[in-house]
Amino acid sequence: MALSAKHLLGIEHLSPADITTILDLAEQYATLNRQANKHSSALAGMTQINMFFENSTRTLASFELAGKRLGADVMNMALGASSIKKGETLIDTAMTLNAMNPDLLVVRHQHSGAVDLLSQKVNCAVLNAGDGRHEHPTQALLDALTIRRAKGRLHRLNIAICGDIAHSRVARSNIFLLNKMENRIRLVGPQTLMPSGIDQFGVEVYHDMTEGLRDVDVVMMLRLQRERMDGAFIPSEREYYYRWGLTSEKLRAAKNDAIVMHPGPMNRGVEIDGDIADDINRSVIQEQVEMGVAVRMAAMDLLAQGLRAQTPAAVMA
């Protein structure tokens, strides 16, 4: 079973069936990843290049491990500094790498739409590892898998996404995914961090955190970027923490069995209280990291199946 598209650029154009396919396969990889021998041969002989134009530790490590466990030759390129300084354009860099015949390109870029642009210029499969404030599909998929495992289902849940929605690709991908799977989504945060026209995305917007968390099944926190804390978007860290930081007091409004998620890295004491982040009864943050590897293995496996389904002539063309 392959995906309906050649690339994984975002959640927006995936069907619910695609999402379920990825999550079901990821479930199997999650089991594999807990065994002593974690090897599969799904990407054997294939080359995976991780092109990260923006700094990343966790996502890059997750993609690297996923590729290696599937048997691919994995190369990491941190492009934040080198080529950009030499004046090479994104497309030239992509075409140079494309000439080395990779099978999978995993790309992160600081500009929205940059990964779409790149995918039009190469003939391998492209996986979006985050573009600007547009999409971060594997993050939404790993969140979905984590929710499904914790709650036993991925529909008819009340889910609150809290914090900096405006600048978050994680929020956008999650809004698309959770809406496609028929959940009820609330967005919670200060108005300066809500993007324009967000009311047209099938969500309810709350500015009061306790109201927003009332009776939810899932609390999804977002990272507040340091550069947003300088007084331009919020007055201060301490006011933000007081109003929108997740504390056990505010969490009491949610359902008793509500889970707490965070894509990491966390700002403890800014958007989330350290005790909640470490509470093994509420926090599934470590599980998210674990599912991240499994989901990326599943996504790359399915893209590779799509590549293998093409005849060699088609690949050449």
Partner: protein, 421 residues
């Protein structure tokens, strides 16, 4: 002597559109007849439209500084093919055209290389930096028809007020850009659900209204004559309409792109659609088209802005803004006629008559004694635009691959045929 007969004569002054005959001689329109039979050697126009050539305010040539993007020769050829017989060129070159010496140099190059009329505008402040006034008097003497810092808005109210006051004394025309620069900094789309979905930094149309209101207040204070290069939003148009009703000496233009495209075209991040100001919602586009019909918008411009492939082959946020448009101006404008917004004489008020009046030119009219700058065009001829066939050096048009209607058949400047399609 050239006689053009059996043509639909588009007369924007009298608002008429009727079959007739025009005779050209000594660079002027000699006679216009609606009934007398034409002479034997007349050119049969086969019922196509004959109208004054387009006067396009706000063309960027890229000379000096970026000649690889566009030169006077290539822009002139593009203009002739597009029915533009007078290009009013922008001073936002590198360096900016802010001294009489530079203006004279540019004008000499223009006259030598370009097959259509070229009228230069000059920067309002030195280096378009918004601090020191350019020599408005000397520049006017050297041939500058208007003064503008283009999209570099003068934020210092005192500087701008003095520029307006000084210009008023010399009756110089100022062209202003109504976008509040702080609010719109970094934006490449208009705020709303689409920009949010695409994850593009965006600005509200209120930025246009804010700058317009500041400018109007200073215009009221100084009495200066000001034209706004391009309005693009309903909120801006409402403010403009009130100012006009109040009797302020203001006029405004609209770019052909904002009249014919909307933000929905940004899906998929096509950088040829990246414009400044960014494309608006369909509501705004409809309001703008209606404002041309009602006369609230006086002028339609191409805002021709050549960009090479390298400046556009980038992620949307990083790509350069602007589009080439002189060659597509007429067929795109015909969309407004075919769409029922206005008739041909009304369209030509915005394309030729009003720009001429604004700049104090004798051209832009279909009248005896007016310069024989004329175009013959087929308003209906359908075609699919292929950007590689454009005469501009740069091919950055958003209409590539689009079905369009309307084609220039012949262009005349001072009675001489300079283009045949």
């Amino acid at each position: 002597m050239t006689t053009l007969t059996n043509a639909r004569l588009i007369d924007p002054e009298n608002g008429t559109d009727a079959i007739g005959t025009v005779t050209l001689g000594d660079g002027k329109i000699k006679t216009i007849n609606y009934d007398t039979p034409p002479p034997q050697d007349a050119i049969d126009c086969a019922g196509k439209c004959l109208a004054p050539g387009i006067i396009d305010i706000g063309v960027k040539i890229c000379e000096p500084g970026e000649r690889h993007k566009e030169s006077f020769a290539s822009a002139g050829a593009a203009a002739a093919a597009g029915g533009v017989t007078t290009m009013v060129i922008r001073p936002d070159t590198e360096p900016a055209i802010d001294t009489p010496e530079l203006l004279e140099f540019v004008h000499r190059r223009a006259v030598a290389d370009s097959m259509v009329n070229v009228l230069p505008m000059a920067a309002l402040t030195l280096g378009r930096a918004g601090r020191e006034m350019a020599e408005i008097g000397f520049l006017s003497d050297a041939g500058a028809v208007a003064f503008t810092d283009c999209d570099a808005v003068i934020t210092d109210n005192k500087v701008f007020a003095r520029c307006l006051t000084y210009a008023k004394g010399l009756d110089a025309l100022i062209i202003s850009h109504a976008q509040e620069p702080m609010l719109s900094s970094g934006a490449s789309a208009t705020s709303g659900a689409l920009a949010t979905k695409l994850g593009l930094p965006s600005v509200s149309t209120i930025a246009e209204r804010m700058q317009l209101q500041r400018d109007l207040a200073l215009i009221e204070m100084t009495g200066a004559r000001v034209h706004f290069d391009q309005l693009s939003s309903r909120v801006g148009l409402n403010v403009l309409a009130r100012a006009k009703a109040k009797g302020l000496r203001v006029t405004a233009g609209a770019s052909i792109h904002h009249l014919t495209l909307n933000e929905m075209d940004l899906e998929g991040y096509p950088t040829f659609f990246k414009l400044k100001p960014p494309l608006r919602a369909e509501d705004d586009r409809v309001a703008l088209a209606s404002a041309v019909a009602s006369g609230v918008i006086d002028v339609i411009s191409s805002m021709h802005t050549p960009q090479d492939e390298e400046s556009k082959r980038l992620p949307f946020e990083a790509a350069a803004s602007g589009a080439v448009a002189m060659e597509t101006l007429l067929p795109a404008a015909m969309q407004l006629v075919h769409g029922g917004y206005l008739d041909l004489p009304t369209l030509w008020r915005a394309l030729s008559l009003n720009p001429a009046k604004l700049l104090g030119l004798d051209a832009g009219r279909l009248a005896i004694g007016a310069p024989a700058d004329l175009i013959l065009f087929d308003p209906d001829k359908p075609f699919v635009l292929d950007r590689t066939l454009l005469k501009s050096k740069s091919k950055n048009t958003p209409y590539d691959g689009r079905r369009m209607q309307g084609q220039v058949l012949r262009s005349y400047v001072a009675g001489q045929e300079i283009y045949r399609g």
